[in-house]
Symmetry: C2
Subunit: 404 residues, 2 copies
Amino acid sequence: MPAIDAARLLQDLRDLARIGAYKTGVHRPTYSAEDMTARHWFSTRLTEAGLAAEIDGIGNVIGRSAAPGPKLLLGSHLETQPHAGWLDGALGVIYGLEVARVLGPTLGHAIEVGAWADEEGHFGNFLGSRSFVRGIDAAEIARTVNRHDGGKLADALAGAGLAGRPRARLDPARYRGYLEAHIEQGDELDTSGLRLGVVTSIVGIWQYMIRIEGVQNHAGTTRMAIRRDAGVALVRLAGAIEARFPQVGGPRSVWTTGRILLEPGAPSIVPGGAEMLFQFRDADPARLAAMEQALEALVAGENAGPCTVTLTNLSRSTPKLMDAAFQDALERAAERNAPGMHIRMPSGAGHDAQLFAEALPAAMLFVPSIGGISHHYAENTRDADIVLGCQVLADAAAAILGGI
Amino acid sequence: MPAIDAARLLQDLRDLARIGAYKTGVHRPTYSAEDMTARHWFSTRLTEAGLAAEIDGIGNVIGRSAAPGPKLLLGSHLETQPHAGWLDGALGVIYGLEVARVLGPTLGHAIEVGAWADEEGHFGNFLGSRSFVRGIDAAEIARTVNRHDGGKLADALAGAGLAGRPRARLDPARYRGYLEAHIEQGDELDTSGLRLGVVTSIVGIWQYMIRIEGVQNHAGTTRMAIRRDAGVALVRLAGAIEARFPQVGGPRSVWTTGRILLEPGAPSIVPGGAEMLFQFRDADPARLAAMEQALEALVAGENAGPCTVTLTNLSRSTPKLMDAAFQDALERAAERNAPGMHIRMPSGAGHDAQLFAEALPAAMLFVPSIGGISHHYAENTRDADIVLGCQVLADAAAAILGGI
């Protein structure tokens, strides 16, 4: 198998990390000046690698090959969460570039590379890969705003010089499939001392708004016996969820209450309303359904109390299975380069690969996150693991294109 | 005993309620145009009643008598909570005016009346009665801001035309004592069918900030077993408080979690920090201390878990006993006017009377709140109860000044 250039790979990652550098990490929100600088920088690198590079109307940077025959698409994303790490997204994009350089001369540029815009969701969910795989329309762009500052997506695209450009679309017949490498973001590889994770599936995320209506009243003059305190009901329900979910959840299930709001939120007022955002994740659709059933039962139980509880589902994403043959190819490449140091595991986070899995065979490779730190400037991965991951990806890509 | 003029009393209350009318209630925040119109309107009514009226530098409206000899001070407040009721504060102020009119001719204007500014705390706690009883300094005024919009108190006073006016101070030797009537705000009188409450004490309020530090992390990639979720710890602690306090609290104790905040408050992030505002109230200092001890024990218990909990006391107000002889005078007047229809009860809410109780014999009389509704425009009291309360206050005032 052709060897990647470890020094060139690490230098590219470090060069990219200087664009929007923040402490030991990067601050490169989607369509910011730093983000666009990174996209143009990456487009130039793709051109240098012999690919025809394009930045499309949603900011996707795509490098295409002129070589005939089946191709493999590799990619990830360039923008970051606010004040986040240097490898989240960047790793998979630079891996794609390096694999294209190495396999291009050998296999006739059968590797194409994409940096999908806004995987991090500053303007929504998987904007770039959705645009490429499913297509998005002008109406969605017109109504979409930045979740941090409320600024319009259309204005951001215009400010980034992307107004009027066409949005590229995936031609599934062009590709054998899609591969994406990413830092794990969790601590499973790091804790176990393993160096590579072959992703089996990307979990489904089911999200809920739980709204409680009680009666707002004076916290001094309203006796405990007659209160209909929405905050007390919320605390009771959230406590019941924490007590019940370890029984109904599987070994890899996770569940999170990310936000709680009491209304009006004053020290001397019995809360008349309360809200919480709750989500759970699992790779098994039956497990997700069981957790929803448990949640509904707990809500029904609390509804027997003094307040009214309304459970609203906000989203139910389907777990996406990674392609079995691609998983085998990644596992064989991992075993060849780091015998016994790899594991199959689901991804608890969402990734662009879940969009591509709708149209193509798709798979993912994880490298360890030191301490499991993610979405923070302290995020990091050992250089040796970065280099190893790229070599494994290159080997698997070559095997896939060689016929697996 | 001289009879009050029921029609005049109700007309005054209705005239006052037109200033800043909102639905069936009133919106008259402290130092707003409507609030200042009400203060000037009330000052004119005091003058018409034969008192020397003054609006001082903090907005207190005070009507003084030229008659020699000991006097009794009656009062309450004119401003309202946002979009609140027509009687909260206004009732006690107009009662004072009516009692002064009725007893003035009989007893030589021995009744003086005050409307204390900002009892409702738009700019802090008991600004007007604290200024009058304890005095406040320029430094406090300079640093005080409106809790709704952050506007400076000094600017609000200037805008209200009060800049540069002296702030009146209480001369305790001038008065036999202080009486204040108020709507109950709770539902105890209304539920029991009683018509008058003789207040025994104003409860102490002990307030706390509970701060929890955990570790912020990714809600998809962070396994449940290694999470240090500050929100989960908060829910567990708040649940433990709700389970424990019914045992440690007395029959009239109340406790309230008014605000909960999870940080950063995003659906897919395990909260790394959490805060809650908690308070409890009781008229018995020993009970307050026992509740604090129970809270400390629960916090210590949660501190044995994965997060760090810090308990910070924000305030501990001392329960204020009402004067025993004044309570007797109010009770005798209640029994004379409504035999068997009165009860002694603590006040769960704070009132200006608690400031006056620091310097003078002080007592309070409650009239029923229909449905216990308070701080809402639907707040109301039956006309017959409004009239009865004023007559009882007049009779008690006459008895006190006649020597009880």
